[in-house]
């Protein structure tokens, strides 16, 4: 089979390897139907994070189960499944608290399991999922092809945008600002609107993303950034927002977020802190600003979000504005890196 391997900065290649064997009694072999490239995949690709050894890529995918281990109880061969961006056993104390990303035996695709055995990535033709019952979520029946992009967002970006909104306690009537217009930011707009926010201000400088944000429920667009952008938010609302969803992860985006929230408001952040600053506790203290969020436990949100995707109530799959065959994965990386596309979908 073919799988995507990052060898170093700007060096993405397809490797030809055997289909992985299912050895773990709790695992499942999945034939991948669709996967995609994540903003965080670009860190190694751009050379921002160091690539010490070749790394199997991809942590967002949907597929069809080919085979399950002897101890698997709920997932069956033939199931169409969604894989969260981290695997988790589903029954440790942290999973039971809904924090599957802190699972005691969990880990990341393209990494290794608790015993040190390598785990494949999602930008491939097949992968073996550890803890199939805890990790994978099966849809009722095999979905129509046009639902695939939406279901794929449940792997990461929709759940992550939703986590920003939930962490910021977004509720009916709230005013919300979304910082970041990548796929996660756009999904955060959608999530905030879904949770009943009255005003959703998307901060974006790109016409195509502004358009999608508006279709996802943004009521206002602010095109300026930093203190200028925050001032424009205050001008629009008369005061800072009840909630700000930080979906970038840089020093500048967090600064902008803290400047745009009202006293007593909440910042929900899901942008992986890229060497970002520590949080300014005096500013938070004086203004009673809550900071919540982190690496999104998307597994915990799948039950709530899946029905809305299946029913077409929400259409997060629209964040995929380009589709590539796996053979063209290097082009997909390059196009995302240059911001030519918002998020590339990959078909094996």
């Amino acid at each position: 089979m073919r799988e995507t391997v990052l060898h170093g900065a700007n060096d993405i290649r397809l490797a030809d390897t055997p289909v992985p064997e299912l050895r773990d009694p709790t695992g499942a072999l999945v034939r991948i139907v669709a996967s995609c490239v994540c903003g965080s995949d670009l860190w190694g690709y751009r050379g921002v994070s160091k690539v010490d050894q070749p790394r199997r890529m991809g942590h967002e995918f949907v597929g069809v189960v080919e085979e399950v281990g002897t101890e698997v109880r709920t997932i069956r061969p033939g199931d169409f499944v969604i894989a969260p961006f981290m695997f988790s056993d589903g029954d440790c104390v942290h999973c039971r608290h809904g924090v599957h990303t802190s699972c005691e035996r969990g880990g990341g695709w393209g990494g290794a399991d608790q015993d040190g055995n390598p785990v494949g990535g999602g930008q491939a033709e097949y992968v073996v999922s550890p803890f199939a019952d805890g990790t994978l979520v099966a849809t009722p029946g095999v979905p129509d092809d046009d639902l695939i992009p939406g279901l794929l967002t449940l792997s990461d970006v929709l759940g992550t945008g939703h986590h920003a909104a939930v962490s910021a306690q977004v509720g009916p009537g709230d005013t919300v600002v979304v910082v970041g217009d990548g796929a996660v930011g756009l999904c955060a707009v959608l999530a905030a609107a879904r949770l009943g926010a009255e005003r959703v201000i998307a901060m974006s400088r790109h016409a195509d993303r502004q358009r999608l944000a508006t279709e996802f429920g943004a009521t206002d667009i602010v095109t300026t950034r930093g203190d200028e952008g925050a001032a424009e938010v205050l001008e629009l609302l008369g005061v800072g927002a009840d909630a700000v969803l930080e979906c970038v992860g840089t020093k500048e985006s967090m600064h902008q977020s803290l400047a745009a929230v009202r006293p007593g408001g909440r910042v929900g952040y899901v942008g992986v802190p890229a060497g970002g600053p520590e949080l300014p506790i005096r500013q938070l203290f004086s203004n009673n600003i809550t900071v919540a969020g982190g690496v999104a436990p998307v597994r915990a949100y799948l039950d709530a979000l899946l029905p809305d995707v299946l029913s077409g109530e929400i259409t997060p799959g629209r964040v995929f504005d380009a589709s590539y065959s796996l053979a063209d994965v290097a082009t997909a990386y390059a196009d995302m890196d240059s911001r030519k596309v918002i998020k590339p979908l990959l078909r094996p």
Copy 2:
């Protein structure tokens, strides 16, 4: 009248000054019945924060209204009132959001109002309250003398401990750790128990404070500190706590709090950050730890807490373990500074 003035480190004196005149039509002249010394008063006293000019002290008091301005609607002469530790107009956007500490026209006792007119402190015989309707809360009738200490805690320490618990979203069944065994920490124990926490672990090394913590609802006492203390919490609970209430404000106490919370847990902090560290965002991100709190908007909590104090359902007044006449205010400061007493009550 006599009022307490801090002239510099270790230099607390009583001044003899005229009873303040009520000039502001929204204000009220209050005869102070009881006040107290706050841990934060000790900063200037200890020389930790600089005292540039003599400062009128005291921001926690209860008293009887002697006179009200022509525009005051709800507060009347003869009312027994509780004063939150900051004054606030009660009708700006931040007050309406329950963040009275960010009131657009509010400020601190012993400081100045928005027009720059000096505002007296609470460690005195009389004080003029700005925005009487927005700031002061009247009890139904004049309370019995034995209720005075409890009512006085509504000025600050009970509301502040409660703010830590509310910020950390403490609810029924939660496991809670309280860092800090001063009056605020002890009130946080009480607040957590009142909100239904199942386990409340008080971290304290002092027998008298441990005893009071237990009476306030602590189920466990941990006498160690730092990483050792956090490890003991994890040993007791099997995992970090659902909520940690940080009631100190130092670098060490925040470190200990973050080490004692479980992934996905919440740290509610009310300890004024004393030059403390910035918050370690990578640690928060990886573990989905919420950090919330700040300077407590105690005015917002008065309606909820007052009935429980009046009914005797809770007895937060027990944090006052010594009483002084105003003439002995310097001794009260010295005794609190040396940790001889938890919190000194002052009677004019």
